[in-house]
Symmetry: C2
């Protein structure tokens, strides 16, 4: 049963065939997201080192991205490195372009792509600065060229800005949503789109602060990550300020804060000269700030933190957490066959997932409490399939756990695939006794768990007999 996912349907439109031109950090990030979401990718990059570079990004993605979700992702797709743009794009329906940020280079590559690709394919440039109209310059089929600007690391950060013909961007948005991303379709094209304009403003101000000896890179970063960065991981600037304005509202806030725009707070009128001296100053400060870690170590820390932060937003179903929940529902639908009847006679697959690194403890393995989390989730899935779903709970009935016993048999590690099979031992009136077995992908028994639950009235918080349709479902389980 643990290999059932191997044959499961792709979660997105199986007809999308991805290609990527350019395998740097951004191209590699896209490739990793496509592959881990179960798609094959054809790739072209003239750099002889491209394959190694893509593999490096992919290794980072493999150790972090699957842990975002509470279900297994589809079986990883295959990366096929091609010898020409033609080979890479001729059969593709989505062609990513992630080449260096030089307009004439991009224009000539896009021209080459268009010669060889289907005229219905979406050609999506990762450009952070150029407008679609610049990329489409002299194109024979301009409406197929759009901007799809992602953010590093592409396999974790959900944002992607889409700019271009609305028919094409709408189609692109639908595809990218299914890859767990948040497509932001721009109303009008503009240099640098939206996010990089905001970032550019901060970057410029930061350079001035360093140039003028007001702050170091560490101090600026600390001003961000101990302050507004924490706020912005969940609510943006306007919603944050809406709260600051209180019940009197946003207009009141602007009246208060507005005049500051006239004050000399930012060095608006000038651009700092990127002299060798300033560049060296920044590089030295950055070395002092982060030099204890290699880039790869920093990538791991960043990725583990991102997984943790995004997962922490699941409970409130907020922002990036909502994206994870949405995809989890989709993944669950692919994993569980709701038509398969539950019976006391046989166990069912309840959990099939990868262990996120945030579940490890000081022993370097999955902490004992996360075994309980997995088993608790397995019980939730049985309860939902029996009919104790959100609607039923909203009616004021649910199950509470009375006791749980876990036998730990083997260690589990970050990135490892586990599955849980659950059987219903007792389903008698308000009593429900479940038995779970957790195994790794190779079949090693990781742990066993018995969990006894009672059906309760959520108003009185006392046990009571199950209501319909749950009561009938339980009777079927016993009789089958």
């Amino acid at each position: 049963m643990t290999t059932s996912k191997r044959t499961m349907e792709l979660i997105t439109n199986a007809n999308t065939r991805f290609a990527m031109i350019g395998g740097g950090v951004i191209g590699g990030g896209w490739i990793a997201r496509f592959l881990l979401m179960g798609f094959d990718v054809t790739i072209y990059d003239p750099d002889p080192d491209a394959k190694r570079k893509v593999e490096q990004v992919l290794a980072n993605a493999r150790r972090s991205m699957p842990g975002l979700y509470d279900y297994m992702l589809p079986q990883e797709g295959t990366a096929l490195f091609c010898h020409s743009i033609k080979d890479a794009v001729s059969n593709a329906t989505w062609i990513g372009e992630s080449t260096p940020e030089r307009l004439n280079l991009k224009q000539s590559i896009l021209k080459e792509i268009q010669i060889h690709c289907s005229k219905d394919a979406i050609i999506a440039s990762s450009t952070s600065g150029f407008k679609p109209s610049q990329l489409q310059n002299k194109s024979i089929n301009p409406q197929q060229i759009i901007v799809a600007h992602p953010f590093n690391p592409v396999y974790l950060v959900p944002l992607v800005e889409l700019v271009g013909y609305s028919e094409t961007t709408d189609k692109a948005a639908s595809i990218l949503s299914k890859l767990g991303m948040h497509p932001l379709v721009l109303r009008k094209e503009i240099d640098a789109h939206i996010a990089d304009r905001l970032l550019e403003a901060v970057w410029r101000e930061g350079l001035w602060l360093i140039n003028d000896g007001i702050a170091t890179t560490t101090e600026i970063d600390d001003a961000i990550r101990y302050g507004f960065g924490l706020r912005w991981a969940q609510m943006g600037m306007f919603e944050t300020y809406r709260i600051a304005g209180g019940e009197e509202g946003m207009a009141h806030f602007i009246e208060q804060f507005g005049p500051a725009l006239k004050w000399p707070w930012t060095k608006l009128m000038d651009v700092p000269e990127l002299s060798d001296e300033l560049v060296t100053k920044i590089a030295d400060q950055s070395n002092q700030q982060s030099g204890d870690y290699s880039i790869n170590q920093l990538e791991h820390i960043r990725d583990d933190n991102l997984v943790s932060i995004m997962r922490s937003l699941k409970l409130k179903d907020w922002g990036a957490g909502n994206l994870l929940n949405t995809l989890d529902l989709e993944l669950e639908r692919n994993q569980v066959n709701p038509a398969e009847p539950l019976s006391q006679a046989k166990d069912v697959l309840t959990i099939n997932r990868v262990i996120p690194s945030s579940w490890l403890d000081y022993n370097g393995h999955m902490n004992d409490s996360h075994y309980a989390e997995v088993f608790s989730k397995a019980s939730d899935i049985i309860l939902r399939r029996l009919g104790a779903d959100p609607d039923y709970i909203a009616r004021g009935y649910s199950y509470f756990t009375v006791d749980m016993k876990i036998d730990y048999r083997n260690e589990c590690h970050a990135g490892e695939e586990i599955s849980v099979h659950t059987s219903i031992k007792i389903a008698d009136g308000k009593k429900l006794d479940l038995y779970h077995e957790m195994k790794t992908a190779t079949g090693t028994l990781s742990a066993k768990c018995s969990q006894f639950l009672l059906h309760v009235d959520l108003n009185s918080r006392k046990s009571c007999l199950p209501m319909e349709p749950l009561a009938s479902a339980l009777r079927k389980v016993v009789s089958s």
Copy 2:
């Protein structure tokens, strides 16, 4: 035993006596942090509604801040509302000033404060825009006036910018660190300090995007919270870009990204007119974005997410997570008496904490798996006290859980205080059997747990006999 914390030493210098002039959102946030960290606060605000407003902030702080930590905070201090600045400040050693952002008003209040306060007291203005030299204008004792600029919500967001005489800011930094904050001492005074200069740059760019019809408040916020906001909750701008630069380093990154500064990405040269039309446009968009929630609901969502995000950074001991771990160690030292010998004859207090809202599930109570988390943590504390501490683990030895059985007796709710007492049932060679009882502050039994552990060699991952000094400590437990 659950009330032992009631008499515990204050975690910071008990000689600090806090006063606050101004009880708005920021003043109230400061007051909440002082009170919840165990300090009394004397308050002056001429607004007849001030007490209600402070209570409202305090209610938000009480439901979120204690859940940040794995140990109980000290007993909450008392808020004393005074009838004059004189009454509020005459006995204080730290006087906060959180009055409206008008320079002449602040100057006259600071003058009044200085007439009545000790000349050794720190006077800390929350001003977001003014420089200490402006506040100190004509002051008889300028070195005691500093800027201590916090961020909303002050009871959760750790950043505070300190500007002024270095002797005073150093003293202030030491006090604020012990309150769980991250003091950022500025090298030079500058309008709007550091963070608000960065925010101001984003705000201005955002206003242009709305003014020009490029994006709505929702779209700008989404560009932040699905994108760079996630990154900035843990690493700031420079460390993030350091990674983007790869092994070639920061100077390489600047060379690549630098030229963009010359491009017309940001509307630098002008300031959008805050016409009624633009203000209405923003307010309308904001209503559409967040109007389903009241401000208080948004505050709760924001606070729960902040607690979750900050707690998610504990594992890597990173950024705000490092601040939590640091204070937790301090709180643990206050709770646990390391000189108290462990013995089989009696139980010891291992956990005393508040339940964070992020531990709730769809039944509105603490999820069963978090009981396991609490008990697992209780065992960790016993192990550490026996000598299986980080140093011992670094030598290659530890304990693994073999089985865990939890009897759930009563529900636990967010914000509720719980404590766990643990006794050692068996300590025989490599075997360790622990028994935990979890109770609420009123003595209600929440759950019982038996946990059986084996001592292991972390290299072979197999069980083995304990090494010294753990072995001797275990013998003492048995013989005592």
